[in-house]
């Protein structure tokens, strides 16, 4: 961590987005995490994605639980709404907020402890209910705040910093999210922003439960030989199935792709996702195939990354519940209270 604030000066030639903001305008406070923490790179990626999408910071609600990962919303989007909730309870707070005001962009930031242990049930239900959100897990495989015990996502057979072998089976949050019906599922790596930034941007533009598992090495406790969440291990075993370009607006696709190498997916808001295939056989629209692919490669010790599954026509919780479109805070008394005549009518129908 650093004790001085990041200087306000910025590069005089920094590009600006449609709102006239530079990426520095999307920063928050200076991070207090350990030097080199993967989470800080994810923070930078969220900043970059929001900058690229020209998002108005005050239209974002960032919600987190407890843990190193859950501290990070303080470090990005300093002008957004934020709620640092109870351990593992980010999904229910987010669900509540989303139901109350569907107009905001919901960014749930959690970690492997927060989502795969104490909040596992909450994670499952928010995905199952198709809450319209971007759910990011900053996954380092250890409890960093309590000095590096294995978390529930640590791979069986991987070693702790002290050399102890993990004997328990790992929870693969991506596999579970797929199984629970998440309509946007991706995995990425904090050390590869060129992959991560477009994934976050696409997830923000996705309607429905978008889940991104980001492997984020813990420099202090999980970046050694024998770890399967270290920079070196992930770089060596990274099996990216595709690369993503997010195309906003109605402009035609200007980048030229070799035929057969790109799959274009249009989301409900018109955002087009150009998936440049690395694995020619991989189909990001096939949930079942994705699950099989994932299991096969996990067995070989490979870390599958990229946009693994997307359903561009997904519906969200509001559609299912047929809720009112107006945010609750702007509903007037006359909208909420139909009056005594209406009450009489209802009462009469029940007599």
């Amino acid at each position: 961590m650093t004790y001085i604030a990041k200087p306000k000066f910025q590069h005089p030639g920094l590009p600006k987005n449609e709102l006239g903001y530079t990426h520095r305008d999307y920063e928050g406070k200076v991070s207090t995490l350990c030097a080199g923490c993967g989470h800080d790179s994810i923070t930078a990626s969220i900043i970059e994605a929001c900058y690229e999408l020209s998002i108005e910071p005050h239209r974002v609600a960032k919600i987190s639980g407890i843990g190193c990962s859950s501290k990070t919303p303080d470090y990005f989007l300093g002008n957004s709404h934020g709620f640092n909730s109870v351990h593992g309870r980010m999904p229910s707070v987010l669900t509540g907020a989303n139901l109350a005001n569907r107009d905001l962009i919901y960014l749930g930031v959690s970690g492997d402890g927060d989502s795969a242990s104490i909040g596992f049930g909450q994670f499952a239900h928010s995905i199952r209910r198709a809450v319209n959100m971007t759910y990011i897990v900053e996954n380092n495989g250890v409890y960093g705040l309590t000095k590096g015990q294995f978390s529930a996502t640590a791979d069986r057979g991987s070693k702790s910093k002290k050399g102890v072998m993990n004997t328990e089976n790992a929870i693969d949050l991506v596999a579970i999210a797929l199984q629970l019906g998440a309509s946007f599922v991706a995995r990425s790596f904090s050390g590869d922003k060129s992959q991560l930034v477009p994934l976050i941007a696409a997830a923000i533009r996705h309607k429905g439960a978008a889940f991104i598992d980001v492997i984020s090495p813990c420099i202090a406790f999980n970046n050694h030989a024998g770890s399967t969440k270290s920079f070196d291990y992930v770089r060596e075993h990274n099996d990216a199935v595709n690369r993503l370009d997010v195309l906003t607006g109605r402009d035609p696709i200007t980048v030229e792709y070799a035929p057969g190498t790109v799959q274009v997916v249009e989301q409900h808001d018109g955002t087009r996702l150009a998936l440049r295939k690395i694995d020619a056989d991989y189909d990001a629209n096939d949930r079942l195939a994705a699950m099989t692919f994932l299991q096969k490669h996990a067995a070989k010790g490979q870390v599958v990354t990229g946009l693994l599954y997307v359903d561009p026509d997904a519906e969200d919780l509001h559609t299912h519940l047929d809720t009112v479109e107006t945010p609750l805070n702007t509903l007037e008394a006359k909208d909420l209270c139909p009056g005594s005549a209406a009450l009489e009518k209802i009462n009469a129908s029940l007599r």
Partner: protein
């Protein structure tokens, strides 16, 4: 791109833009830090070693460092480097005991012609080595143009006395009131070497109709300033026109305002923006109610029975040819005559060597300038060296000092039987500033303050007294604030690729987006792929290879704040902040102790 060789002495020197731009290569950030610590005497001595006249230059320097200052690329204004130098001089304790001691004479005699900054810099470097230095000047006191041409309201005599005194006290013999009329005669006096630092003493004439007839009220700027300086001239007419757009013109008009000139105008041929005067000197003149009229070429002095009544000007405009060269062409407007009582002509200075016989082995070029080697400052007579304005025409004090250092080195090498063309490399020290995990031995918290203004004396009072210094200098508090604006560009970011794990922490934290990890390529291509645009090609890219992913680390030095956050955020110590100090080579450097006197 090839990986950067950071061990080349010039690489990091260029990153310290101010020091690189300073002809004498004064270690600017080093002395500014000392000022911030309140160590004014130490700051003064660092300056004294490099530029010899900190108090004088802190008031009068042309400041090539300030346009170069990195702060000027990050916000509106550079650090007030020049005025901080004055702070060191103003607040220092007695530093006499820190001056070199006169050493036993080595029997070699050096004659120095002219008692200005170039000669005195040579004497300062050579006297402590045991040379017997004799300085000749036609004026009674040492200082040359610093004393005769710079008005006292910008540079008080006390400052000149003090700083020339430090040099003369080294056992230098000063022969004031002694004009050298013949180089031949001087050569016959068997000096081991002669240094000519006689300046550019002749003001350029303006030969237009009426010049002779109205001569009584037309004065050559630098001569007039010298006469004022020595008290020979005490007043001037009510309406004064100053012709010329350089710093001498600014000194002339402001002096005229103090000697009875109520309606003083500066009139220049060129546009206001292209004037040679430094922007701050123009500002000071405007502040004293002196209008500057531009695009007006003087064509005649108007006079009635031998009395000047005005100057006639042709109106011109600037036109640019295909090559971008400017031509002043008549605008077609009618000529304008501006009435006046006196005219000061400050249209340039020239060298004049009537006292150098053309048969004493010194070759002159077609412009009647001596042939001088730009590195050794030797003339074609092996015993005779030139420096300051005498060498290459009018420049300013800091250049004269730089020439002096180099000429002194040549003289010392020649008289030690060495080849003067072999110039020893400067000594470079680079050492870590790390004190703890997040602690550095310099203040890396960047100040967001804007440039502080130097307090001025009230205009009404200042204009009444020609000797009252206009600038009052920073007080301690303002000086501290200004010193904190320095970005410590000499504390370098040093990268070690083998230690790097490519976690991107430095990329994410860098406030200026200076750092990029990417595939290598040609420079033009690489500059386009950086995280932030890199338009200044004169600013280096620091390229390091040897990373696990095969990429290269590219750091654009251009707008780096030297805040050290990259190093604070680096989990493996691949980045370090290391202070770069360069000891320029002076006469006798090779035998000097390696120990530094301060910091």
């Amino acid at each position: 791109m090839k990986p950067t060789d950071i061990s080349a002495p010039d690489y990091f020197h260029k990153v310290v833009d101010c020091q690189w731009a300073c002809p004498a290569h004064t270690p600017v950030p080093e002395y500014i830090r000392l000022i911030a610590e309140g160590r004014y005497s130490d700051a003064y001595m660092i300056n004294w070693k490099s530029n010899v006249f900190p108090g004088i230059l802190g008031r009068t320097c042309d400041r090539p460092c300030e346009p170069a200052c990195r702060r000027g690329r990050v916000e509106e204004n550079p650090v007030a480097i020049c005025r901080l130098k004055r702070v060191a001089a103003d607040f220092k304790d007695d530093v006499k005991h820190r001056m070199p001691k006169p050493s036993p004479k080595n029997g070699k005699r050096i004659a120095l012609v002219g008692g200005g900054p170039a000669s005195l810099a040579v004497a300062r470097d050579l006297a402590p080595l045991g040379y017997h230095c004799t300085v000749f000047d036609s004026d009674p006191k040492a200082g040359g143009m610093m004393r005769s041409q710079i008005p006292k309201f910008r540079l008080p005599d006390t400052v000149i006395d003090e700083e020339t005194g430090y040099i003369l006290d080294l056992g230098v013999e000063f022969k004031g009131g002694h004009r050298v009329d013949s180089l031949k005669k001087l050569l016959s006096e068997n000096y081991d070497a002669i240094f000519i630092g006689s300046g550019a003493p002749r003001g350029r004439e303006l030969d237009i109709p009426g010049r002779k007839e109205a001569a009584a009220n037309i004065h050559i700027g630098i001569e007039w300033l010298a006469s004022v300086s020595f008290g020979h001239v005490e007043k001037i007419g009510r309406r004064v026109i100053v012709l010329g757009g350089g710093n001498t013109a600014m000194d002339c008009c402001r002096t005229a305002r103090r000697l009875g000139g109520e309606d003083v105008k500066v009139i220049v041929r060129s546009g206001f923006e292209e004037m040679k005067a430094s922007p701050w000197e123009k500002e000071d003149a405007l502040h004293e109610d002196i209008p500057i009229l531009n695009y007006m070429v003087p064509v005649a002095f108007k006079h009635v029975s031998g009395k000047l009544i005005g100057v006639t000007f042709q109106k011109v405009k600037a036109e640019y040819d295909a090559k971008g060269r400017r031509n002043l062409v008549p605008s077609g407007e009618p000529d304008q005559t501006i009435p006046c009582d006196d005219v000061l002509v400050a249209v340039g200075q020239e060298n004049a060597f009537p006292w150098i016989e053309r048969d004493c082995g010194i070759e002159f070029d077609k412009w009647n300038m001596p042939q001088v080697d730009p590195i050794t400052f030797a003339s074609t007579n092996p015993k005779v060296f030139f420096g300051g304005d005498a060498a290459f025409g009018p420049k300013n004090i800091i250049w004269a000092v730089a020439h002096g250092h180099d000429a002194a080195l040549s003289i010392h090498k020649m008289l030690s039987g060495e080849d003067i063309n072999e110039r020893p490399l400067p000594e470079v020290n680079v050492f870590s500033q790390k004190m703890g995990i997040h602690e550095w031995s310099y203040d890396n918290d960047i100040s967001g303050d804007k440039r502080f203004k130097v307090p001025h004396r009230d205009k009404v009072i200042a204009l009444k007294d020609i000797k009252a210094e206009v600038e009052l200098g920073y007080d301690v508090k303002l000086a501290l604030g200004e010193a904190q604006r320095c970005l410590n560009c000499d504390v370098q970011t040093i990268f070690s690729a083998p230690a790097c794990i490519e976690c991107d922490a430095c990329v994410d934290i860098c406030p200026m987006d200076c750092i990029t990890f990417t595939e290598n390529g040609e420079e033009d291509d690489l500059r386009q792929r950086l995280k932030a645009p890199s338009p200044h090609r004169d600013q280096a890219l620091y390229v390091a290879e040897g990373l696990k992913t095969g990429r290269v680390m590219v750091k654009d030095e251009d707008v780096c704040l030297h805040c050290g956050l990259c190093a604070e955020r680096c989990p493996t110590g691949a980045w370090d902040m290391q202070k770069y100090l360069i000891d320029m080579t002076y006469a006798g450097s090779t035998c000097q102790s390696k120990a530094r006197s301060a910091a």
